[in-house]
Symmetry: C3
Subunit: 155 residues, 3 copies
């Protein structure tokens, strides 16, 4: 059995979940760009208020934090605090040879809660809702890393 | 020999170190939550000062940076600047087939210095101590990535 | 065929690109240190203005943001928003068994544009140039993750 074969159900499950999360993470960069263009501001570097074809009428105000841009940056930062760990924890977890159904629940469940967390954060839902949608993903992460640890310690 | 078998000593060493670092990284999110509850502040989003069951008496002051929370955020940011690279560098490094004892020293040494770095940062030790505890981990990272590069260039 | 063998051209291509990006990412931490020593400031923690052998004449001004340091921090943050995703997306992509030449163009192309992006950011080039150098890398990321997703969904 080739554990890293994309035709292997367990590894395919991981690869699907990982690809979706990577695409989601990368989308945050593009969303930041879209928002910066929309508000014509929210920039960060001094050179960003030089006159260029893309920024023909620069002003110092463009370097001030803009909430519409900052919201996406916070969402992106939340991704950075979670997705890299998920990408490795999920990989190691499927190598422990878990039941396929459990792996699907955990990996796709993680993806689903992260997308729901994004929707809640993006639309400015109250903190309680955001926290409720962040928590299951974090618990899945802890479970997968813990399971890997136990399996590896038993060698 | 199956290089990705958790019963293989080299890969198990990596999996143990990686799992511990993932659990450590995820713990920073929970520690941030604990601190925000303790100080009832250090929030970041405008919607976090809406009245909710968890925040029955909101105030604008809750959005101000709080040093007890900010300290954990800085520790977490330091993790983000180091752990994702470690998780991949360590994986590639064990694939180069190093001596087990050397791999154990490097991977467990990395984990040990990161935990010591956390303890120093958490308790506000002077910068010199923090730097002394960060440096060996960063050098281990450079060594593992450099060793992988040399091995891969020789194909 | 051992897909994770560093003598396998596809995997070696990935390992070379990944190692270079890890070394580049880690270098940002060291560059931050160099800049903090150069300007004797740009620190972030209250304890960093305690009198120590490395900081014999501390002052509160050392905690103020310093543009020469902040520039490196922004470059590093840009790395964190990109490299961890690349490290996993590139790994999964080579497991889909792409043509070697295409994989080399994508993986080495990513490395080349990231190094060019660094050079532009480091020297304060206008935003239009920086954006033009960031975009191909992000598109490569999206392509590799999308290709992996399609391959994994077809299992």
């Amino acid at each position: 059995m080739d554990k890293l074969n994309l035709h292997h159900p367990l590894f395919a499950t991981y690869a699907i979940a990982a690809s979706l999360m990577i695409l989601k993470g990368v989308a945050m960069s593009w969303l930041t760009v879209v928002r910066m263009l929309q508000v014509n501001g929210g920039f960060r570097s001094p050179e960003d208020i030089k006159k260029t074809p893309v920024n023909p009428n620069p002003s110092a105000a463009q370097l001030a934090p803009n909430e519409r841009v900052e919201r996406i940056r916070r969402i992106q930062q939340n991704d950075l605090e979670n997705l890299p760990y998920f990408l490795v924890a999920g990989f190691l977890y499927v190598l422990t040879g878990p039941p396929l159904l459990l792996a699907q629940w955990l990996l796709y469940g993680y993806v689903a809660t992260r997308l729901a967390h994004f929707a809640a954060y993006f639309t400015g839902q109250i903190h309680d809702i955001r926290a409720a949608l962040w928590t299951p993903g974090s618990l899945i992460l802890i479970f997968m890393a813990g399971r890997t640890l136990v399996a590896a310690l038993g060698y």
